[in-house]
């Protein structure tokens, strides 16, 4: 599935030309073809178009190309670690090169927590191929058999003890054939040098010294700055505008209109009026002076409060059944005791610390982009569409990302830069989004209403469980008119419920979408986990039982959950390789509970809460300790995060992602909310859209990694979902107040 090729002797290698060393290229079968190819055994493409993965120079310097975007998860370090380890390279000799956007790398859309999951094997193949070629090169040089030669930390060592550095062998290796895949050998786990260790991030020193280049730091010769006023409502358009006053600002050169996007909006530039000038400050000033008349379009009817009422009403009625086991209606119709609860969570914004920015330089029939993008190939597509170019004529360079969380997968801002560069007669231009732009023209995390009902037996254990979810679907931006959540969204913590209940029904309700909805770190898992794990805790307390013991009973005996009758994408991975494993759920939950000291007696106002959730094929449990004053002030002294993500690469980055998830999850639960009024987003900056600060965040988060040789899963997102319900469950334990809506800033937590 991954073909490696020796491309050392080709001149096409931009940036690597003339090095005279070993250069390996590789073609990755597009993910969509992967399963089909594996089944048919045929190769997806007969044309071989390799991209560079690693280059070894004669002096021993090794460049490893990384094709995924760095937004803080550490994948720019972890993927090269896999290559270097398998190659037996010395990490100190490794330089990292960021790939441009190119489909030959396979998917570069850095989302879905899948960089390591999808590319672990690819990286190993690249590393193992290089290692075996260097061993063969040494064998040739010494006139011995390759079996007598072993790679060891940037040297090839012969049985006799003599050795040659990687660099000295690069030229010989450059003329050798690539070892066939069936002849590749991989290092044994005990010999791993880097994988599984804690490795400092590649860009660490550049970051702390201010040298690191993010999207907003791109500077081109003769570059103009642009700031765009967009219609407050999605789908609206300019009726007329008056640029006169804006043009009086010193440093403002031009005011140009960008045509309005038409549905489906996908990642199109929204359209609006752009002020162009010679500095950021000038264009921001100019923009204040624009006078624009908008046709706000049909989404002006969108108001968060009335929409909420509709969502809740829909959640109270039967919806479309997406999973059914046994007969819940029969049990509900009996005289069994039942419990029902409704939950609501609002829209959220990504609010990455770096607002969106993109730089473009169009030419006659080409365009080059520089952008902090999670999705450089989509950026190329969108720019190509906007300019009417063949996508091959668009280059997308990827900078570091000042956070992404899913927003930077959607390259509307890249299309804007391309359009403006072309409109300015192909001048280079950087589009700068203000914080307000970033907040008000997002792709929002969906708001959601959920309704759960259970019937319980005399022990309080559920005999029937019905859960219903209603939220505006992401599919709308791509033209989906079904008005309901997709199998993918439902498979994020809802249709994949892992509880052992004899009668089960999962339903989804319909609702229209009126803002651009998009995926945000852990996506639909956020609201699904909040409702499901809150409800489990509610049932435990109703039964007068210990929540840990109760949740373990719900998870039930060790098994792989049968999903054969459910349309369930499983994060695009086969269930045989990545099953829903209740044993791993139980183990993770138990570990987090043990670490928090579950069962401790605490005075009123202090409490512990638990939740465990599988998402993105990783299992994470959170145990949260809270303190709530009588007046309702909340502090979080400690969170224990237990994680089982299968094989992992950079231990420290697994830990940091879980620490970050604890802040992200408690933050959204405590204060995250985006609201729409007449179709426009109300919140604009950090005074009305709050992000937790150092004095509000959990004080101590401890992370416990469960060692597991299961295939790699992912860690960027799965830390988030269990945190909000574990927090609100802890609040219940502390105060007796059950929180069924977020954010907590709207709920009075006071007690007496």
């Amino acid at each position: 599935m991954n073909r490696v090729e020796n491309v050392s002797r080709r001149s096409l290698l931009k940036g690597f030309a003339g090095m005279g060393g070993l250069v390996l290229g590789m073609q990755i079968t597009p993910e969509s073809l992967m399963s089909a190819t594996a089944k048919s055994g045929s190769h997806a493409s007969s044309r071989f178009k390799p991209n560079i993965w690693l280059a070894l120079q004669k002096n021993g310097d090794l460049t490893i190309v990384t094709h995924r975007s760095e937004m803080g998860t550490g994948c720019r370090t972890s993927l090269p670690m896999i290559v270097a380890d398998e190659m037996e390279a010395d990490w100190k000799r490794v330089a990292i090169e960021q790939a441009i956007g190119d489909e030959k790398y396979g998917s570069q859309n850095t989302d879905g927590s899948r960089s390591v999951r999808n590319f672990y094997q690819t990286m190993r193949v690249a590393g193992a191929s290089a290692r075996q070629m260097l061993e063969a090169a040494a064998a040739k040089r010494w006139g011995v058999s390759a079996e007598e030669c072993t790679a060891k930390n940037h040297f090839i060592v012969h049985e006799s003890g003599k050795k040659l550095g990687f660099g000295e062998l690069a030229e010989i290796a450059a003329d050798l054939p690539i070892p066939p895949q069936e002849k590749l050998t991989f290092k044994e786990k005990k010999d791993w040098r880097y994988v599984g260790t804690a490795m400092p991030m590649t860009d660490l020193e550049d970051i702390v010294t201010g040298k690191a280049k993010f999207g907003l730091d791109v500077e081109l010769e003769g570059m103009k700055y642009a700031s765009i006023e967009r219609c407050p409502v999605v789908g609206g358009k300019v009726i007329s505008f008056d640029p006169t006053d804006a043009l009086t600002v010193t440093g403002v050169d031009e005011v140009v209109e960008i045509p309005a996007a038409k549905p489906p909006f996908r990642y199109q530039a929204l359209g609006g009026v752009a002020v162009i000038g010679s500095s950021t400050w000038a264009v921001l000033q100019g923009r204040e002076k624009l006078r624009i008349k908008w046709d706000r379009g049909e989404n002006v009817i969108y108001n968060s409060d009335t929409y909420r009422t509709q969502l809740e009403a829909t959640a109270g009625k039967p919806g479309v059944v997406v999973r059914e086991e046994g007969d819940v209606d029969k049990v509900f119709a009996s005289d069994a005791k039942t419990h029902e609860a409704a939950y609501y969570t609002p829209h959220l914004a990504h609010a990455a610390m770096e607002p969106l920015a993109a730089t473009a330089r169009a030419k006659e029939d080409t365009c080059e982009l520089w952008a902090p993008t999670q999705n450089p190939q989509a950026a190329r597509d969108e720019a190509a569409n906007a300019l009417g170019l063949d996508k091959k004529k668009v280059i997308c360079n990827v900078t570091l990302l000042g956070g992404g969380f899913g927003r930077k997968s959607k390259p509307d801002y890249c299309a804007e830069a391309a359009i403006l560069s072309r409109k300015l007669g192909n001048l280079p231009v950087r589009v700068v989004w203000t914080r307000e732009d970033d907040m008000r023209h997002g792709y929002y995390h969906a708001c959601a209403a959920l309704n759960l009902k259970a019937a319980v037996d005399e022990n309080g254990s559920p005999t029937a469980w019905r859960q219903r979810t209603v939220f505006p679907t992401i599919g709308w931006i791509f033209g989906d008119t079904s008005n309901r959540g997709s199998a993918g969204e439902l498979g994020q913590g809802f249709s994949d419920l892992a509880f052992s209940v004899p009668n089960l029904r999962v339903e989804v309700g319909k609702t229209k979408t009126h803002v651009r909805v998009g995926w945000l770190r852990s996506v639909a898992n956020i609201y699904h986990a909040f409702a499901v794990h809150s409800f489990a805790d509610e049932l435990a307390h109703l039964a007068g039982r210990d929540p840990l013991e109760y949740m373990l009973e719900l998870i039930g005996k060790e098994r792989h959950v049968d999903m054969s009758k459910v349309e369930y994408p499983n994060y695009d991975q086969p269930l045989e390789i990545y099953p829903i494993d209740t044993g791993r759920l139980a183990k993770t939950l138990t570990l987090a509970a043990t670490k928090i000291g579950w069962g401790r007696k605490l005075p009123k106002g202090r409490g512990l809460g638990l939740a465990v959730h599988r998402s993105f094929l990783t299992y994470v449990a959170s145990a949260v300790e809270v303190e709530v004053t009588k007046a309702g002030k909340l502090t979080i002294p400690r969170i224990e995060m237990a994680v089982d993500c299968g094989l992992y690469v950079n231990r420290d980055r697994v830990i940091s992602q879980m620490e970050g998830a604890a802040v992200f999850g408690t933050g959204l639960a405590m204060m995250g909310e985006i609201t729409a009024r007449e179709g426009a987003i109300v919140e604009g900056n950090f005074m009305d859209h709050l992000i937790p600060r150092i004095n509000e965040a959990p004080i101590q988060t401890n992370v416990h990694i469960i060692e597991n040789s299961a295939p790699p899963a992912g860690v960027g997102e799965p830390g988030v979902p269990p945190v909000p319900p574990a927090l609100t469950n802890a609040i219940f334990a502390a105060t007796g107040k059950r929180v069924r809506e977020l954010p907590l800033s709207k709920v009075d937590l006071g007690w007496s």
């Binding site: 970051i207 500095s279 940091s656």
Partner: protein
Amino acid sequence: MIKLRVNGVAQRFNGDPQTPLLWYLRDALGLTGTKYGCGVGLCGACTVHQNGNAIRACITPVANLDGADITTIEGLGKDGIHVVQKAWMEHDVPQCGYCQPGQIMSAAALLASNSKPSDDDIDRSMSGNICRCGTYQRIRTAIKAAAEELA
């Protein structure tokens, strides 16, 4: 004309005096280590030092800086890497890294005036700096480590 020093270098500014220091540093002087996050003094990404004190460059017009001595992240470690930067590296604080120059400048200013900050002191001095990635715990640890190093 406004005269000021930036990282020890004399500069003369002739533009719109209301220009925030942030955009002057970034667009005119090319000092892009100072970041834009909110533009209204709420996130701390633009934190620099004016005569040793932490200020928010996004809400400080250049007009106010005649004769001022400004230090940015690029000039913090006068002789190599500053203890705070070193502590940041030792504790692998950054995730995406975007907020970190501002965090480091706030922390350095705190330690310059308080060599042994308590948790409350840290909360007070650092609560103006948002980190969306959630690196607060390591920030706290790194500040304490830097304080020890300075002691």
